[in-house]
Symmetry: C2
Subunit: 264 residues, 2 copies
Amino acid sequence: MRLITGLSNPTIKYLRSLRDKKHRRREGRFLAEGLRLLTDARETGHLPDMLVMAEGRDPHPLLDTLIEAVEAANGDVIEVSEAALSKITGKDNPQAVCGVFAEFDTGLDRIDRSSAPLFLVAQAMRDPGNLGTMLRTADAVGAGGLILVDDCADPFSVEAVRASMGAVFTVPLAQARWDEFQGWLRSGEGQLVAASLREPHDYREAPYVAPCFVMVGNESRGLPEEYEVECDLRVTIPMLGRADSLNASIAGAVLAYEALAKLR
Amino acid sequence: MRLITGLSNPTIKYLRSLRDKKHRRREGRFLAEGLRLLTDARETGHLPDMLVMAEGRDPHPLLDTLIEAVEAANGDVIEVSEAALSKITGKDNPQAVCGVFAEFDTGLDRIDRSSAPLFLVAQAMRDPGNLGTMLRTADAVGAGGLILVDDCADPFSVEAVRASMGAVFTVPLAQARWDEFQGWLRSGEGQLVAASLREPHDYREAPYVAPCFVMVGNESRGLPEEYEVECDLRVTIPMLGRADSLNASIAGAVLAYEALAKLR
């Protein structure tokens, strides 16, 4: 373990730069925060290259386990001031530990359509909180993966990793353009389902079939019409109020839990 | 209409101060952004005291309607620079218009338990985005209201109003301490339902009864045990992955849509 003092140290600058997508891409690294999340990562075989904790933190046996594991794997274990940790994580009240992880491969070959009855698909989802929440929901419904289609928020952003509550480490994740996803999907079995107002089935009565790919679109614009017509099943969720749409991650969860109940 | 130039003008400072809860409370005013949201507000009988728009905005007939309505009600219509509007809303890319509204009364007498089969309850929900999303979901399921119990995020914060997508104007909203809510709830009909691991029913098979109050707890801690035991019905949502919880607003939506399907 080594101690780094001062806010302008190159390591602190490197860590802080990982809050920025451009730097994450260049380094192939991302940040995850919090003892619980880092413990989940460790238990699923993901150790950080670098483990960073605040001086004056409370001792914790799980943190000791984590330190031992990172040191045994020749990782870097670093103590910094609370101010430096705040600067790294961008939070006023930083969780007392964060780690730097190698980004995963997110090719479509990460997804095994025989591994689960249900998969989630997000198209042009721009909010990292929504994207992380989709990952968390994907874990909860036992989905075989989350596929990010077109220009989505970065799943390795601090906000997405935080909202995923560790699911970024446990849920297979793929990124693809629509054409690429379509080619992959149609090369095997798979029912593509989306919420729609176009000849829709009531989502409670619809004929879901495994492997079922539940897709939601962009937060403002929804799915493009030409994507919607490519779906095998279009369903409608009741909207009894003034608004005509749900939050995208809410719509995804309501559909995913309905499909799960029918497919289990 | 009047034009305000410069970032240090007192009106700009006043508007910016409304991003802060303390100032909102003192002034009894809150900010809402975006032409669509302000149009929804107008159509449901809520006009801003003050309407603020960027110079150099694109013209829009709905904006003209809004300006006429605010001026007819002796409201203040103001043009500012794009930089000033960014400063007010805290967004880099501000929507071209925002309004200042009087905060509503949020007493429990705002809730009419005979008005709908379903109501949502959030306990100690700290994230304004989750809270706004709960409002949006409450609108979608036709809930008779959202009741905020104990120390929740401010429903009049810019983030909550934004996430509500206008539902802050359409869904009856109440704020109460737990004891006060309990007293009110037990003075009439009402089934209190929460997700729980304590003698739970499967949420798909549970006996929901109108008026049904679906409650979710704090994002990190869930519901206090002593609140859970006061519930009339405890249900379980399948969790097939590593995690043992969903995002609070997701859990609320999954339960609310299930209860709605059974109670419609």
